[in-house]
């Protein structure tokens, strides 16, 4: 949930204007331009990898994840790439099979929360007045109430809370963040010329929202969706880990639940709990990277020169506020050389930057 912090301003009323400029200027074809961003590409790659795993998992898993065998608590080997559990179950198969559950819950929860978030956020931002007060008050309340404990007590009281139930509970509690950001953006979009113009020409409110406002919110909705999926994956895995959801449904959290309960830590069976955690982290990182891509797309100031950081360093350019780098290129060397006594005694700036770099 940290990835979208930047979209959020301290005061929702002065939403970041330049972001709207960007999105407003977006042409339909360029809407997913952020995918050209390297970070987003890597993230997307990771997501696709797990997506494929979720689909074909049952066909490629080497064993039945619940099948017990004689190979008890074996470290990784050719037969069991990721070792076995205390009952001889194959950890790799558990992780492969578990992927589907994680992704399905993540996507359902993400979709559900996004739909609610868009409904609440856009309506609040567009309506203004009392309706806005009530709706944004509601989303702020949901933001302040700690979600995970809420999910835990709800899931803990639902008899046999399966994947979909958990996804719905997560969606019902996790929409507020997106709604808040969307409300702020809608508020500033509403005052834009093209929306005013549409309103003046007598277009209906739903049409304005669908045709004029929503297209300009695409990037933010996408960011909110990805953020919620991250949160949903973490929540679901956590719920499984503490044993709130049925421990027989395989997902990465269930693997960790058994590992913790069967003292894998004390027995030094690292292969049992390290891979599942890495998978969660990898999936989470992939989603976060996608969000970075979207963030940089929304807020051009963040677009880091970082991509070229190495090449910049090679050229001894250090982008800084308040100290414009001076790099003399051959073609623009002054035509009129200064008289000899005006030659600066200090080293030329390029070398100087290099010296400073070394001092650091």
């Amino acid at each position: 949930m940290t990835a979208d912090v930047t979209v959020l301003q301290d005061d929702p009323d002065d939403a970041p204007d330049e972001s709207v400029d960007e999105t407003a200027a977006t042409k339909a074809g360029h809407r997913f331009l952020f995918l050209r961003n390297t970070k987003a590409m890597i993230g997307f790659g990771i997501l696709v990898f797990f997506g494929i795993l979720a689909v074909i998992g049952p066909f490629i898993a080497p064993y039945d994840p619940s099948a017990v065998s004689r190979d008890i608590l074996q470290p990784p080997s050719a037969a069991h790439w990721l070792g076995t559990t205390h009952t001889g179950q194959d950890v790799l198969s558990q992780i492969i099979i578990g992927t589907r559950g994680v992704l399905v819950v993540g996507l359902i929860a993400g979709l559900g929360a996004t739909v609610v978030g868009v409904l609440v956020g856009v309506t609040a931002g567009y309506l203004g007045g009392v309706g806005d007060e009530v709706l944004s008050g509601l989303s702020n309340i949901f933001l302040v109430i700690p979600q995970l404990p809420l999910i835990i007590i709800i899931a803990g009281q639902v008899p046999s809370a399966g994947g979909v139930t958990v996804a719905l509970v997560i969606a019902a509690t996790g929409w507020a963040w997106g709604a808040r950001v969307l409300r702020a953006q809608t508020l500033s979009l509403r005052r834009r010329d093209f929306v005013e113009a549409a309103r003046a020409s007598g277009e209906s409110t739903p049409r304005i929202i669908v045709a004029e406002i929503l297209p300009n919110l695409t990037a933010i909705i996408a960011a909110g969706f990805v953020g919620t999926v991250i949160f949903a994956v973490l929540s679901q895995v956590t719920l499984a880990f503490i044993g709130v959801t049925p421990v027989s449904d395989w997902n990465w959290g269930t693997v960790l639940f058994w590992a913790q309960n069967q003292l894998a830590l004390q027995r030094g069976a690292w292969w049992w709990f390290v891979p599942a955690g890495l998978c969660i982290a990898l999936l989470g990182m992939g989603l976060t990277l996608i969000n970075f891509g979207i963030d940089e797309f929304i807020n051009p100031r963040l677009r880091s020169t970082g991509l070229h950081a190495r090449s910049l360093r090679k050229r001894r350019i250090r982008p800084r506020i308040g100290f414009t780098p001076v790099v003399r290129t051959a073609e623009t060397t002054p035509v009129h050389r200064p008289p000899a006594e005006e030659q600066p005694a200090e080293p030329r700036p390029a070398e100087q930057n290099a010296i400073e770099e070394i001092r650091r």
Binding site: L8, I145, L148, Q157, L256, M285, P319
Partner: protein, 326 residues
């Protein structure tokens, strides 16, 4: 309306909402687990306590919804959260009061440390864009995606099981009697170190990334360039002008993410069997102790609310614009 009046009204409404949610959840759930629990403990529960449980879980079907709601508030004002079944017959409020200080101590301190450290590191990275410091970003991204509890598992494996430097669970040496002497406090610190470290490691990345982005955004404001034009020392520009403004949204997002962080860190208590409120929640969930679950949730929510109010005070102290009327 002044900033504070608005906020106070908001918090009152939120507190009311939290209590109401707590009131509604058991009434909306299918099934009636508590009647069974009461039946099983028949004869051991005194009639007052049984009446409290009936009010808390809406077992008196001959009462109207409104009457139930009013009675519920009445119980809360008396601090009566019912009886715990796991720790029968201890009142829920007693258990909560015993475990809350541990959580505030561990989670509170660790969260504040993570926030302060993360903000400092984020300041440095955001200020020196395009240097080696950017290399910290991928690492932070990875850590921000790791589930808290898994980091706890790794920490236990490495530092408690393999290296044996720290205990793997508990919150103080059981052979000591709780008191305020040096030995006991030392033991508390020793037992708390590993959980605290994991909380810091798990949550710091978010602060680093958030502050870095805010620094980058704020650095392109005119007043930062003006500060450089004035020839102020680098540190003054970086902290007084850039970071001083970048921290404002960081604090509001601190307030907003508190619920999320607290949720994650409570799980950490479960992993370390640390006797805070998160561990109590864990026990309650695993033993289907519904009164305890409800009570813990209420207290967690109200604590987060209090933390939010504190964050608001800090924000108002740092931003002169909020202190104005309007």
């Amino acid at each position: 309306m002044s900033f504070f009046r608005r906020r106070i009204i908001f918090y009152l409404i939120t507190a009311w909402a939290a209590v109401t949610i707590n009131f509604l959840i058991p009434r909306l759930m299918p099934g009636d687990p508590v009647t069974a629990l009461i039946a099983r403990n028949q004869g051991r529960i005194d009639s007052d306590a049984e009446q409290s449980l009936r009010v808390l879980f809406g077992l008196d079907s001959n009462q109207s919804f409104l009457e139930q709601y009013i009675d519920y508030w009445g119980l809360l004002f008396r601090g009566d959260l019912g009886l715990s079944f796991t720790f029968f017959p201890t009142p829920v409020s007693d258990i909560v009061w015993q475990s809350l200080p541990w959580t505030v101590g561990l989670v509170g301190i660790a969260t504040v440390i993570a926030f302060v450290l993360g903000t400092l590191v984020g300041t440095a990275i955001g200020w020196r864009r395009g240097t080696w410091a950017d290399g910290l970003l991928p690492i932070s991204t990875f850590f921000s995606a790791v589930p808290y509890f898994w980091l706890g598992l790794i920490a236990i494996t490495v530092f408690a099981v393999q290296l044996g430097w720290f205990p793997s669970n508990g919150s103080y040496d059981r052979s000591l009697l709780p008191s305020f002497d040096l030995e006991f406090l030392g033991s508390v610190l020793y037992y708390g170190f590993l959980p605290a470290l994991t909380v810091v490691l798990a949550s710091i990345a978010g602060w680093i990334l958030g502050m870095r982005n805010m620094m980058v955004t704020v650095s392109s404001e005119d007043y930062v360039t003006v500060a450089q034009a004035k020839g102020l020392p680098e540190r003054k520009v970086m902290f007084g002008y850039a970071a001083r403004n970048a921290i404002l949204p960081q604090i509001s997002s601190f307030a907003l993410s508190l619920g999320f962080i607290v949720g994650g860190t409570l799980i950490m208590e479960m992993v370390f069997s640390y006797q805070g409120i998160g561990y109590v929640l864990y026990q309650a969930v695993n033993t289907h102790d519904y009164p305890l679950m409800q009570g813990v949730f209420l207290v967690i929510t109200l604590s987060v609310l209090v933390a939010n109010i504190l964050a608001d005070f800090v924000y108002a102290a740092l931003d002169p614009r909020t202190r104005q009327e309007g």
